[in-house]
Amino acid sequence: MPSRQSAAHYHFQPWNVGRWLLWSAFALLMLVAPLLWTSSLAHTMLSQMGIAIIVCLAYNMLLGQGGMLSFGHAVYSGLGSYLAVHTLNAVADGRLWLPVSLVPLVGGLAGLFFAALLGWVTTKKAGTTFAMITLGIGELVWSMSLMIPEFFGGEGGITTNRVVGQPWLGISFGPQIQVYYLIAIYCFVCTAAMYAFTRTPLGRILNAVRDNPERVEFVGYDTQRVRYLAFMISGFFAGIAGGLATLNFEIVTAEVVGAARSGAYLLFVFLGGATFFFGPIIGAVLMVIALVLLSELTKAWLLYLGLVFVFMIMYAPGGIASLIMMNLRVALFGRLRRLVGAYLALAAAALVVLIGAGAMIEMLYHLQLNQALGPRMSFLGAPLDAHDVDSWFGAAFVMVTGLALFELVRRQFKRQWDEVQAEIEVEIKRREAL
């Protein structure tokens, strides 16, 4: 009997060692990332990633762990930003004394406060009603930002200067790299804290509420209270992210509480994968890449993003994290190599679709936005004429061919995938029987 129990525990042992490795690697990566990518663009992006990781993890506390679909979580990160910017300005004016490094905590407390206030109403309900209330509260706060310009700063927003008071040990937070490391420290601590939360009684009951709120009521828990507590904790971390954003950008405009921002949290947490703790981290990194790089690359970036989102929902509803975990499982059973060919074929077909669709999208945008420049344009080095039937026909042909190829490859892949999964099941049964 004891032997069986310990066997059951050993089942998870490698993960405990792996966990230390993983966290160390995470810390190390954040430590050396700005040394590897030294451009100022890279530092800007890394800083934003750190902030996005905190807020996406906070959002996923609701979505992935609590089954709460919020359309208005930017309210808490945004109000955190605002309280932080007012605090920072008060410090600059000498009305208040506070080290700049603690300003994000003010944002966190603001997030906590507003989550306690507004969440009281929001978390009274679950499911669709919950989602509707978050939407309503999001709109409410957004409209407030127009009505109270003294607090929200109106169109221009509120500016600030993060270099306040005497530098401490030479740290003035003037250079971006110093802000980056502050963000990195907050990011690591918050990530660790939110991970720790998933291993506490409340964290586990939150999962239970997600899976089956009714049953939770019959094992002694008030589901409303569980949702409310989780909502407040999530609001706290979102507020910290908001406070860090204030330090990073030195300006806060009303869009930080807007629906577009809330939508971005949802979209990228979903893309990253809400079912695993680390999914939102991937989502956050993608969010910054999309917002900073993709938006530079093409005006149609939101359209591409939408396409990717639809594609993910249809084919991989668990997001990138679940794709990784599923393939990790296949790899652990030593069968990943059988799928490599299919993956390459899938990627090639997807690329063809993307080129065809991309050409058409870019031509359309070119016609709409760059009319003055005439119909001629270049796409991936190829000259296109947006008024020419040949260009359109060519692009459509490429896309349709790509789609047909993709579908063929996908079916073949599905067969192989199912085979491999069946083999793994047999293997698991065999091992259990041993």
Partner: protein, 265 residues
């Protein structure tokens, strides 16, 4: 004058007084009176649509009563929320397995014991450090015969395993009064036999109310049987007395109770 202390001590574990329930104009439960003594095993039987599950939903707080009172160990619980009733020592199972689908068997049971062991909404202690909870869950796993399945998500269990886990979650918190809604529904004969023994084991020393269709289970398990027909209790007595009751035979059980011969054809 009145023997108050004695009366308190003898308060029924569950007591229903003139309990009624209507949905719109339809009266499902009509003036039910029932007193279950502590430690007693009571089976509620009756034809389909008699209101057995509704009665359980009323007692466990899933629905509010339209009339009457419900008491748990002498304390009124009608109008209370399910979690409040659960905290006062009443737990129930469901006819259709009602589990935490994505959580493992171990986590399902852990969720079910957390409150009763006083850990409530704690987010400042780790689950892994809660020796009392984890030992209790291991104990439950053994009791339910689910040790080998401890890390399997509830949704991947076989039907019989899900039924066992359903009961496990119900009894995990150590409630004194257990309500089981058709615990053996959909099980094979051999599974049912094993299951009745399991129920007997895990509810030892507790008050048990069960809704059951399998008469073998009912007569094997119950100290007393309540017969519910069209929202009314027409008999509440020992299995022998209920079997012999002409009203019961007339209303519901005649064919079933006529003897083994009747079920043979």
């Amino acid at each position: 004058m009145t023997p108050a202390p004695a009366a308190r001590a003898a308060a029924p574990a569950v007591e229903l007084v003139e309990v009624g329930k209507r949905f719109g104009r339809t009266e499902i439960i009509r003036g039910v009176n029932l007193a279950v003594q502590p430690g007693e095993r009571v089976a509620i039987i009756g034809p389909n649509g008699a209101g057995k599950s509704t009665l359980f939903n009323l007692i466990s707080g899933r629905f509010g009563v339209s009339a009457g009172q419900i008491r748990l160990n002498g304390e009124r619980i009608d109008g209370r929320k399910p979690f409040e009733i659960n905290r006062r020592g009443l737990a129930r199972s469901f006819q259709v397995s009602n589990l935490f689908t994505r959580l493992s068997v171990f986590e399902n049971l852990r969720c079910a014991v957390l409150w009763s062991m006083g850990h409530r909404y704690a987010f400042w202690k780790f689950l892994a450090d809660l020796r009392d909870v984890n030992d209790r869950v291991e104990e439950l796993l053994v009791m339910l015969g689910l040790q080998r399945r401890r890390d399997v998500p509830a949704t991947n269990l076989t039907y019989a395993e899900q039924r066992a886990l359903e009961i496990g979650i119900t009894i995990a918190g150590g409630a004194g009064v257990i309500l089981l809604d058709e615990p053996t529904a959909g099980m094979s004969r051999s599974e049912t036999g094993r299951f009745v023994q399991l129920i007997r084991d895990v509810t030892a020393g507790r008050t048990l109310l069960t809704v059951e269709h399998d008469m073998g289970v009912v007569f094997g398990l119950a100290d007393r049987i309540a017969v519910l027909v069209y929202g009314e209790i027409i008999a509440f007595d020992t299995p022998e007395a209920v079997r012999a009751d002409p009203r019961v035979q007339e209303a519901y059980l005649g064919a079933v109770l006529a003897g083994p011969a009747a079920t043979g054809d």
